[in-house]
């Protein structure tokens, strides 16, 4: 057993050691390890620390540790652990004296803390240098540093306790990094990276969710808006329907009134005007219905009808509808249909009308105060192929010629127009590019030509675009919304046709369109179209002379007359007309000449009188019967005031004035009147019916006034009645005492002596007397002319038709009253009651 002991802290050089002083006890080192061989023979009790240690060790029998002190040789700080060696086993509860007694030696070990630490930690140190501080912390408030440099606070500190085996002493080891640990870039980066990634992912999710939410929102909004738009559309349709209904109601009132007007007394021309107004009103109502159809067009659900209709009548009515506006502006309008176009075609007349009305309406709108609007219809075949065009209008239309002397052109009004062939030069149908040429179909080419302001070149591309007008000021100046042409285009396309135009600003515009129609039979026409059939033939074979300096215009007039079966000659001036007339005096042509139509442009009062006298002279020369009718002279005019018209009529220069645009119905009415086919006023059915009611009836007229009697008698005789007149009530009594042969009695109310009331009362009482007798069988029926019940209809004649009088009349037995002087309608109504029942 070796004991090791270390000496004091301060100076421990072995050579410098003094021999130990004399003491009671010594503890010299006898044995030692090689490494600490320098402490051999040093008295361990010489150091204070060691002494305490030894004493404590021997007292407690346990290992004891010194506080840190500098070791001898190395001068490192260290601690010594000392054990006491006993010579016998001591019981655990042995007192210190016993222990001291038993001590034979000591065992000691020194811990060189630095080398211990360095050797131990060598393995533990990481790349960073670890700073280790070892403390003796037996005294907690004053730790003794055993190893380690000054503390550099680098943050992380690990404290571990060291147990050298002495419970009395506490030791701690503080480990810390010498340098601050560098920022753990990897970790930081990684975590930042992860964070960023997480953030990004989170952001993506967030964004996605937001987007979804937004899209959903948008979708909801859109649904809402869509619902609103649909509601607006529905509202628009409802509005249209309501407004149209609102318009329809007063329109129906207008139409009703017109119908009532037509039931009154009108002459032929007035009747025609009323009928035209009525037809226009009906057209307006159908136009309103068409407005409601626009919705169909816009939604593409439009379908065309397939009915037979008369093209010429349709065009007449279209032009007459717009004639007011064009006449007011001083624009001449005319329609011409080629002979080759059949009478009846099958298609949709309403839509056809719509297109032409739109084009004509535009022409009127954009033509100011001069010139013309000319609608012409030809077969497409007339244009194609053959170079020689048979139709005169077409000929002239294709060749615009200017008359140098009068600076006018060979057009309807003399004003220049654009070349019409330019409006159809791009049509496939006409260029023969149209492959399928269905022979069953009739292909028509309709042209609307005007001398208006024209369309600006830069606006020409857009005119078929809906809601776009030539320029922004158009709507302001001319009105309109700009849909008409686009609808027309759509309709034309539905008819398998094409639409095009040519226009030059300052000259005018010409629109053309084609369409395919089916062939139709005359008999298949709806009654609405067949108005003129029976009448037409009555002018058949008559001849007419047209005097007009514009040849196209003359052709138009000729076209209308030919429709009535009248054969026509044309001259261009009054003088040549006179020559012509003289030349045909001896021919049958003159006999057939029923009318001469003179256009206002060539009208010259003196020359017309000349013509008239020429005709009359001829009649006298031929010693013809006075009643042989001379040809009637008509003036054709465009815009004339009614005053002017009636002046001309009453002046006797002309038999009538015909307003353009010419319409078949007007022509027929005028010709009928002029040629004496009907008697003056067209009374309607009333006159004939009154006559049939009163014919051969025996009527008694009672009036004290001679004039009244005579007038009443004359009026009743007109209807074929047999009239007897008496002056006094008494005479009436006598006449009407049964039996008599009178069928009715007209009684004046105010008469001297016995007035109408009294007379009637007495007549009635006489009648009832007789009736009673007959009923009771007192007298035989043969005595009273086989009439079993006597009641003669007595009608009061009075100028005074108040309710009181009427009631009084009824009270005394009268049946009715009529006003004085007679009014036909009232008379008819009153008389019809009695005679219709076959009294």
């Amino acid at each position: 057993m070796e004991t090791e002991d270390q000496t004091l802290v301060q100076d421990c050089l072995t050579e410098n050691l003094d021999p130990a002083p004399i003491k009671d006890e010594y503890a010299p080192v006898i044995f030692s390890q090689e490494t600490v061989s320098h402490i051999v023979s040093i008295d361990m009790m010489s150091g204070q620390q060691d002494l305490e240690n030894i004493l404590r060790a021997r007292a407690t029998g346990k290992g004891v540790l010194t506080s840190p002190f500098k070791l001898l040789k190395s001068n490192h700080l260290g601690v010594v652990l000392t054990f006491a060696v006993y010579n016998k086993d001591l019981p655990p509860d042995a007192i210190p004296e016993q222990r001291t007694e038993a001590t034979v030696g000591y065992l000691g070990a020194s811990y060189d803390v630095p080398s211990l630490v360095e050797k131990l930690l060598h393995q533990l140190a990481s790349k960073q240098t670890i700073v280790v501080n070892v403390y003796d912390t037996t005294n907690a408030s004053a730790p003794i540093s055993m190893y380690g440099t000054d503390i550099t606070d680098t943050g992380l500190l690990h404290v571990s306790s060291l147990d050298f085996g002495d419970p009395l002493r506490k030791h701690e080891m503080h480990c810390r990094f010498k340098q601050k640990p560098p920022l753990p870039w990897m970790a930081i980066n990684a975590s930042v990276g992860v964070l960023v990634i997480t953030l990004l992912v989170g952001h993506i999710f967030h964004a996605a969710i937001c987007r979804i939410a937004k899209v959903e929102n948008d979708c909801r909004e859109m649904m809402e808006l869509k619902a609103r738009a649909e509601a607006a559309d529905v509202a628009k349709s409802q509005f249209l329907a309501t407004v149209s209904h609102e318009i329809r109601t007063p329109m129906n009132g207008v139409l009703g009134m017109l119908k009532m007007l037509m039931d009154t007394d009108l002459d032929a021309i007035q009747r025609d005007y009323a009928e035209t107004a009525h037809a226009s009103g009906k057209d307006l109502i159908s136009l309103i219905n068409e407005v409601l159809d626009q919705a169909k067009i816009e939604s593409g659900r439009l379908e065309l009808e397939d009915v037979p209709f008369d093209l010429r009548n349709l065009l007449d009515s279209i032009l007459s509808l717009s004639s007011d506006k064009s006449n007011d502006k001083g624009i001449e309008s005319a329609v011409y249909v080629s002979d080759r176009v059949p009478e009846v075609v099958v298609g949709d007349p309403g839509r056809f009308r719509q297109i032409i009305t739109n084009l004509v309406g535009n022409s009127i709108k954009f033509t100011q105060d001069k010139g013309h609007i000319f609608v012409s219809v030809h077969l497409v075949d007339e244009m194609k192929g053959t170079s020689d065009v048979g139709d005169k209008v077409l000929q002239q239309g294709l060749n615009l010629v200017q008359d140098m002397s009068s600076k006018t052109y060979n057009t309807l009004s003399g004003f220049p127009v654009v070349d019409r062939w330019r409006s159809w030069e791009n049509f496939k149908m006409l260029n023969g590019k149209d492959a399928k040429d269905d022979p069953e179909k009739i292909r028509l080419l309709v042209t609307v030509e005007d001398t208006g302001v024209g369309i600006r070149l830069d606006a020409q591309d857009q005119i078929f675009t809906p809601f776009v007008q030539a320029d922004s000021s158009t709507s302001r100046h001319y009105g309109g919304t700009g849909i008409g042409l686009s609808i027309s285009k759509h309709l034309v396309e539905l008819m398998h046709g094409e639409i095009g135009f040519a226009s030059e600003p300052g000259v005018g515009s010409t629109f053309s369109f084609t369409g395919a129609f089916g062939k139709g039979e005359v008999s298949s026409l709806d009654s609405k179209w067949k108005q003129y059939d029976p009448v037409v033939s009555e002018f058949q074979g008559l001849g007419a002379l047209i005097i007009d300096n514009r040849s196209i215009r003359a052709e138009v007039t000729k076209y209308h007359l030919r429709r009535l079966g009248i054969s026509v000659d044309i001259t261009s001036s009054l003088e040549s007309a006179c020559t012509y007339v003289s030349s045909i005096f001896t021919t049958s042509a003159f006999a057939h000449l029923a009318m001469i139509l003179i256009d206002k442009d060539v009208w010259n009062q003196e020359t017309v009188l000349q013509l008239r006298s020429l005709l009359e002279q001829h009649r006298k020369n031929c010693k013809l019967n006075v009643s042989t009718n001379l040809p009637k002279i008509f003036l054709l005019g465009t815009s004339m005031s009614p005053v002017e018209r009636s002046k001309l009529k009453t002046s006797g220069f002309v038999d009538n004035v015909l307003m353009k645009p010419l319409r078949l119905s007007v022509l027929i009415a005028c010709f009928q009147e002029a040629l004496g086919r009907t008697k003056g006023k067209v009374r309607g059915k009333k006159m004939s019916t009154l006559g049939s009611l009163l014919r051969e009836k025996r009527i008694l007229v009672v009036d004290d006034n001679k004039v009244n009697r005579r007038v009443a008698e004359g009026a009743l005789k007109k209807y074929g009645a047999i009239v007897t007149c008496v002056e006094r009530g008494h005479d009436a009594l006598n006449k009407l005492k049964p039996p008599h042969t009178f069928d009715a009695c007209f009684m004046d109310l105010q008469m001297p002596e016995m007035d109408g009331f009294e007379a009637t009362r007495q007549i009635r009482s006489a009648e009832s007397e007789v009736n009673e007798k007959l009923a009771s069988g007192e007298v035989s029926i043969e005595m009273y002319g086989n009439v079993s019940h006597w009641h003669i209809p007595i009608l009061a004649m009075t100028a005074d038709v108040i309710q009181a009088t009427y009631e009084k009349c009824l009270k005394c037995g009268m049946d009715d009253y009529v006003s004085k002087p007679f009014e036909e309608e009232q008379l008819y109504l009153a008389v019809a009651r009695f005679f219709e029942s076959g009294l």
Partner: protein
């Protein structure tokens, strides 16, 4: 032939002026229409009856109104009523209008007013008589010249 036309034109113009000035109204036109081959002088006949009647009634009224010891307005009224009736039968519009005014004066028993009206009636009657006579003369002239009397609308 020219003469006939001229006369006819004159007739038309004169007729129109009578209508325009209110001497005749539509009823007269109706009477003219009643005239036909069966009764070729219908209008002249009725007119003559009217003139007779007028004169008689005017005399009655004058006499009645002259009565110093109280005018019998009832009688006057009866005569006026008659006159009104016959003038409306023939279409003598101005005469009829005066009669209407006359009647109200009778009802009011206004002698002065009645006398004034009587004067007016007489005046209108004589005017109308002259006018109609001119018209009828024209008609005869036309017929004599071989023309037909134009129907005025």
């Amino acid at each position: 032939m020219d003469v006939v036309n001229q006369l006819q034109r004159q007739f038309i113009d004169y007729s129109a002026s009578l209508h325009r000035e209110g001497f005749l109204d539509d009823q007269f036109t109706q009477l003219q229409k009643l005239q036909d081959d069966n009764s070729p002088d219908f209008v002249v006949e009725v007119a003559s009856l009217f003139f007779e009647d007028c004169e008689k009634l005017i005399n009655n009224m004058a006499r009645a109104l002259e009565q110093q010891q109280g005018v019998d307005f009832k009688q006057v009224d009866a005569s006026v009523h008659q006159l009104k009736g016959s003038s409306s039968s023939i279409g003598a519009m101005r005469v009829k209008d005066v009669c209407i005014a006359f009647r109200s004066f009778c009802e009011a028993q206004n002698r002065e007013g009645c006398l004034r009206c009587l004067q007016q009636v007489t005046h209108e009657y004589s005017l109308l008589k002259n006018k109609l006579q001119t018209l009828f003369r024209l008609q005869q002239q036309i017929l004599a010249a071989g023309g037909s009397i134009p129907v005025v609308e």
